[in-house]
């Protein structure tokens, strides 16, 4: 771990359940915190649409009910992302990652556009399917090593996690938020409400960056 991302700056242990910060995870956590603060503070933009074949344009408004629900889901997504960044054990990491997938669907599901809802529905199915390899990976880690603690697995005091578990964890995270399913989310980004929509891509990216660290060190 020290060779890959620097020494841990802070560790809070409750047996196998723990929280730790390294320079890498602290950077990711701070970004999740920053964007969550932006979600709390900002109002959505009004997307300008051009009427095809004319010079006319109009601005879309986001209704208060839609705004409240999407803001709530975005804040939940930000909190889940922060949880995934600080989790020092594989199970909590997978739990928060699955929550990120659910909240991502919630962020766009409130948009009253057939195209956006279709994309959200399809993504929801992929995210649900992604939970199986995700939790399966965590289960294989604990079954084969006897611990869920990333620090113990990284420190060499427990046997290394099998390659299959690492592959399943990565596949699960890809299902929850990242490429190749990511392209399908481009439709979702056509929905108005930039601060909320950006939480989708940010959370997906951050859980992907974190799983790279996890599979490299365990």
């Amino acid at each position: 771990m020290i060779e890959l991302e620097g020494a841990p700056l802070f560790t809070l242990e409750f047996g196998d359940i723990l929280v730790y910060f390294t320079p890498y995870t602290a950077s990711l956590f701070l970004l999740a915190l920053l964007f969550t603060a932006i979600v709390v503070l900002s109002r959505p933009e009004r997307q300008v649409e051009i009427l095809f074949g004319t010079d006319a344009c109009y601005a879309k408004d986001t209704s208060i009910e839609e705004l409240r629900f999407r803001r709530f889901m975005s804040i939940a997504c930000g909190l889940a992302t922060m949880g995934a960044m600080v989790s020092g054990d594989v199970f909590d990491y997978t739990l928060f990652t699955a929550l990120v997938g659910v909240t991502n669907v919630g962020i766009v599901a409130a948009v009253k556009s057939r195209h956006v809802q279709n994309a959200a529905f399809q993504y929801g199915i992929v995210a649900l399917a992604g939970t199986l390899p995700l939790f399966g990976g965590a289960a294989i880690v604990v079954a084969s090593t006897g611990t869920l603690s990333i620090l113990r697995l990284a420190g060499g005091t427990a046997p290394g996690a099998p390659l299959l578990a690492k592959a399943l964890l990565t596949l699960g995270v890809m299902g929850e938020g990242m490429a190749p399913f990511y392209a399908a989310k481009a439709e979702m980004f056509r929905a108005p409400g930039a601060p909320y929509v950006i939480m989708c891509s940010l959370s997906s990216l951050l859980i992907f960056l974190r799983v790279i660290e996890v599979v490299l060190v365990i």
């Binding site: 890498y24 009004r46 891509s201 490299l216």
Partner: protein, 280 residues
């Protein structure tokens, strides 16, 4: 640190100016002066600035500050010899920044720039492969330890040339006027940065200067090793000129072709990483 930051911004902007000049000369145009990007910053800093009525204000302004902050942090990581993982993370987070720039204004041009930024996420994967191969060869991702490894074993450019090519392509995908610059192509006016003007555009230009400096500096450090400052700057210039040739002689790809080419490169790099992993 302030002196290094100033050097990085000014030299990065000069490199972008030279990039435009080289492209113009290859295409038999006179081109702008090489300090044009510095002049842009000065000009934008003193122009009238406002936030569009349709924009999400906090996000519109916030992404400019975040853009400068993450690349300043990246510079700090490179100078301090920190982890390549952090640099990799910052590089990927730049995608979110482009996304934020594009979506926050409400402009359709910015929005499509932002959406293109999302669909071209495949361009980031070769960097991950490059980072993985470096870890396999050196056993570390701390830049100072990689430099020490190169001092003892020779430059990684010779030990793992495909990894260097992967990172070169990653830098190419971030260069303006390149084959993969679909996020700011002319049919979208200026793409994701269309609506950011005045002091916001000046901030974005500072970020671009920093980004160019950090990426080229990291490339030289990681694949060639520690060098005297003058030689480092000279090598960064040489790499940039080679990138300018590629940009000048290659048409901008369509979004579909751009993503397809990036996916093919990613596939090839993954095969290389697996071969290295099996052999080591």
């Amino acid at each position: 640190m302030l002196a290094e930051l100033l050097l990085a911004v000014v030299y990065g902007l000069l490199l972008l100016g030279i990039h435009r000049k080289v492209i113009a000369r290859i295409q038999k145009r006179p081109g702008p002066p090489i300090w044009q990007e510095v002049l842009h910053i000065l000009k934008f800093s003193f122009k009238t600035t406002w936030v569009p009525a349709t924009a999400s204000g906090v996000l519109f302004v916030g992404v400019v500050i975040i853009a400068i902050a993450i690349w300043t942090a990246a510079l700090l990581v490179v100078i301090a010899g920190g982890s390549l993982m952090i640099l990799f993370g910052i590089y990927m987070l730049h995608k979110i920044v482009e996304h934020g720039f594009g979506l926050s204004s409400g402009s359709p041009y910015g929005k499509f720039g932002g959406v293109r930024s999302v669909i071209s996420a495949a361009s980031e994967i070769p960097l991950f492969v490059s980072v993985s191969v470096i870890a396999l060869f050196t056993g570390t991702l701390m830049i100072d330890e990689i430099v020490a490894f190169e001092g003892a074993n020779g430059p990684l450019l010779l030990l793992a040339p495909p990894a260097a090519i992967a990172m070169y392509l990653v830098i190419l995908s971030k260069m303006p006027f390149g084959p993969f610059s679909i996020v700011e192509s002319k049919e979208l006016v200026s793409g994701y940065k269309t609506e950011h003007f005045g002091i916001w555009r000046a901030g974005l230009e500072v970020c671009n200067g920093l980004k160019t400096f950090v990426l080229l500096n990291a490339f030289v450090l990681v694949f060639i090793g520690a060098l005297p400052l003058w030689l480092l700057l000279l090598l960064m210039l040489a790499i940039l000129v080679s990138l300018s040739f590629v940009c000048a002689l290659t048409p901008m790809l369509s979004p579909f072709d751009s993503v397809t080419v990036q996916m093919i490169i990613t596939g090839l790099m993954l095969v290389y990483a697996i071969v290295v992993w099996v052999m080591i």
